[in-house]
């Protein structure tokens, strides 16, 4: 009996010790934690990088995919260490809030279709045709405009059922920026933004919602991030790029867009990668942005944010590939690192920290 009690006591002491270590561990991890919030589009890759960065000895990353708008608000209010936005923030707003903006990773948007009896991957479409579809001007898959581009494909007399993002989204911004760039009517009637006045079609929540809406509807067409289309094995038509070549969505095509972009000439790295030149270039590519304060109140935390992205640029490539994102071109990474000297505390740049 005594023996049992002492055993029990021993267990309790050990449990208390473990709990103490845990609490201590959490407390010290919290002190070093990097807190970010914003766009949902890069959330998977930031989270993955965060795990790998921690495994490599860095502080833990706590990233909340609350949406680009909320991310910008939170960094302006300085409630997080960095904000993330799918669309670049206007220069005046960056200046008035003392923020530095840089691109973190590149993503592509692809068109997905579900046409009975047609291999969507071999279907060819152009930007103006897609713009007409989303304005209700082309209503059937066997419309003359589509037939003319696809002489080898028998297109059925099925109604086109366009799907779009119901929620306000950076993906919509990228997609509508492309359509507005290639179609004047789309630019005047619809425009480009996170949420636009669509003329036809149905809205579904999130990338997953649009993917499901297309797969559920005969004649469906939609747009999703490349990763979603790949993971769900969806049919992605070829698009005509600026060089008048039909291209399939491939990592090479996205990289080509990133290489074509005029990074050096763009203020705050807000370089457009929409409808770039080059024979292999995929036309709907965009980078997602990170916002950090230029005057951080806590230099150590600010340094940790920059260390994290420095690590991600250097070693995050394989994870990006795996999750179907595109790492920034090497030259752009170096330009970004140079700009980090603008983040100062007590008159000293926080990066590279000693």
């Amino acid at each position: 009996m005594l023996n049992q009690i002492s055993k029990g006591l021993g267990r309790a002491v050990r449990a208390a010790a473990v709990a103490g270590i845990l609490v201590g561990g959490i407390a010290s991890a919290y002190a070093q934690e990097v807190i970010g919030a914003g766009a949902t589009f890069p959330a998977p890759i930031y989270t993955k990088w965060g795990e790998q960065f921690k495994a490599a000895g860095g502080p833990a990353l706590n990233y909340q995919g609350v949406g680009s708008g909320a991310g910008v608000t939170q960094i302006i209010n300085r409630t997080v260490d960095f904000g993330a936005s799918d669309t670049p923030v206007a220069s005046e707003r960056l200046a008035s809030n003392n923020l530095l903006q840089f691109p973190a990773v590149i993503g592509a948007v692809v068109v997905v279709v579900n046409i009975p009896g047609v291999d969507g991957n071999s279907l060819k479409l152009t930007g103006p045709i897609i713009a007409d579809i989303y304005q209700g001007r082309i209503r059937m898959w066997n419309a003359n405009e589509i037939k003319a581009l696809n002489p080898g494909i028998t297109l059925p007399a099925v109604a086109v059922a366009p799907a779009y993002r119901a929620d306000s989204s950076g993906t919509t911004n990228i997609f509508t920026s492309y359509l507005a760039a290639v179609s004047l009517p789309f630019q005047t009637n619809v425009g480009a933004a996170n949420s636009v006045p669509w003329k036809t079609g149905v809205g579904a929540p999130g990338n997953a919602g649009v993917a499901a809406a297309v797969q559920n509807t005969k004649g469906g067409i939609g747009y999703v991030e490349y990763a979603y289309a790949t993971e769900n094995k969806m049919q992605t038509p070829q698009l005509e790029n600026r060089a008048k070549k039909f291209v399939k969505p491939t990592i090479a095509g996205f990289n080509s867009a990133a290489a074509q972009a005029n990074w050096a000439g763009a203020a705050n790295f807000a370089a457009s990668m929409i409808n770039m030149g080059g024979d292999t270039t995929w036309p709907i590519v965009s980078s997602t942005y990170v916002l950090v304060p230029k005057n951080p109140s806590d230099p150590e935390r600010a340094a940790n944010v920059l260390k994290f992205f420095d690590w991600a640029f250097k070693s995050g490539g394989p994870a990006a590939d795996q999750l179907h994102y595109i790492a920034l071109p090497k030259a752009v990474q170096d330009q970004v690192r140079k700009k980090w000297s603008a983040v100062t505390a007590n008159g000293k740049a926080v990066w590279p920290a000693s």
């Binding site: 609350v66 909320a70 006045p197 079609g201």
Partner: protein, 321 residues
């Protein structure tokens, strides 16, 4: 002696104190409702004031919803809200009454409890589950089977000008009709359970009297049960209507989220609640969009209030007649 007097004093004061504090706490409980209601209404209105000031009455009557040019009219969302809620009531009302009458009069006693529990379980399903069921199961079924059939059946209905074509539309699956059906299933348990309780409260003597007179079950239902509990039955329906007007998560999945005026009963549309849910996360503080969303909340409040007030008014007239 003092102790004795003290004791007796305490003895008389105690229940008195308990009684008055009970009274006060009941007043507080009653006041909480009014204060919460008034503060929600006030906060919604204050938050949405910028929208009302910018767009004037056009905010309620304009059909244009354009986040790109920052022009916002709420009419498409108001229309979608009213059409789905009333269509849902039209579907759920007769079925709910049927279930209630079946449970109280016709159902074998041994089946009553399990069926009653099944209905209550239907009410316990979270709305997001209804949304996913509607999106993945009901929507494709509607597109492939129900809609083509209804389109053909009602092909004779003349369109309203060239802006509303009743049942004729491309089969997209999601839209007003699917949303109404999902809502109908969601409010059905409320209507059924409340109507059952109400029907159970019909004095047995009245029903026995009717049966003794040789009345059929149909005659008993329409001639005795319904007149006896009419007011409460309306109450059951308006409870369902209230829920249908404000339902959000399920609607986001199945209504099609189109802030345009619907051109048929199958057209994708939007409800006030779904528009707010879709746009709120990205609306920036201080922006006109946020004001518009809060203003929409205010409108939804007023619409729900108006519908319920109208219902009460109808009910009162009915009683007087």
């Amino acid at each position: 002696m003092t102790t004795a007097a003290g004791k007796s004093l305490i003895g008389t004061r105690k229940p008195h104190l308990a009684d008055s504090s009970f009274r006060v706490s009941l007043y507080v409980a009653g006041a909480v409702v009014v204060v919460v209601l008034a503060s929600i209404l006030l906060i919604m209105f204050m938050g949405g004031r910028q929208a009302f000031e910018t767009f004037g009455l056009g905010f309620v009557w304009s059909t244009e919803w354009n986040p790109v040019t920052s022009v916002y009219g709420a009419l498409p969302a108001i229309t979608g809200t009213l059409i789905t809620a009333f269509t849902a009531i039209l579907i759920a009302w007769p079925i709910g009454f049927g279930i209630a009458f079946f449970l109280t009069e016709i159902c074998p006693l041994s089946l009553r409890a399990p069926l009653g529990i099944a209905i209550e379980l239907l009410a316990a399903i979270p709305s997001i589950v209804y949304g996913m069921w509607g999106f993945f199961v009901l929507a494709p079924f509607m597109a492939d089977n129900v809609q083509p059939w209804l389109t053909e059946l009602f092909a004779w209905l003349p369109p309203v000008g060239d802006s509303f074509f009743w049942f004729s539309a491309p089969p997209l699956g999601v839209g007003l009709m699917t949303a109404s059906l999902v809502l109908a299933v969601m409010i059905l348990p409320f209507i059924a359970a409340t109507s059952r309780d109400v029907m159970l409260s019909t004095p047995q003597l009245l029903k026995d009297g009717a049966y003794a007179m040789g009345a059929t079950r149909w005659e008993t239902l329409t001639g005795v049960v319904i007149p006896a509990v009419r007011g409460s039955l309306f109450g059951a329906v308006f409870l369902g209507l209230g829920r249908a007007l404000g339902e959000t998560m399920a609607i986001v999945f199945v209504i099609g989220n189109a802030t345009r005026m619907p051109d048929s009963l199958f057209a994708p549309s939007a409800s006030i609640a779904s528009v707010v849910a879709n746009n709120f996360p990205e609306a920036e503080p201080g922006s006109i969009q946020l004001a518009v969303l809060l203003g929409l909340g205010f409108i939804l409040f007023v619409v729900s209030f108006g519908v319920l007030a109208l219902a009460r008014l109808l009910l009162r007239q009915e009683r007087m007649a």
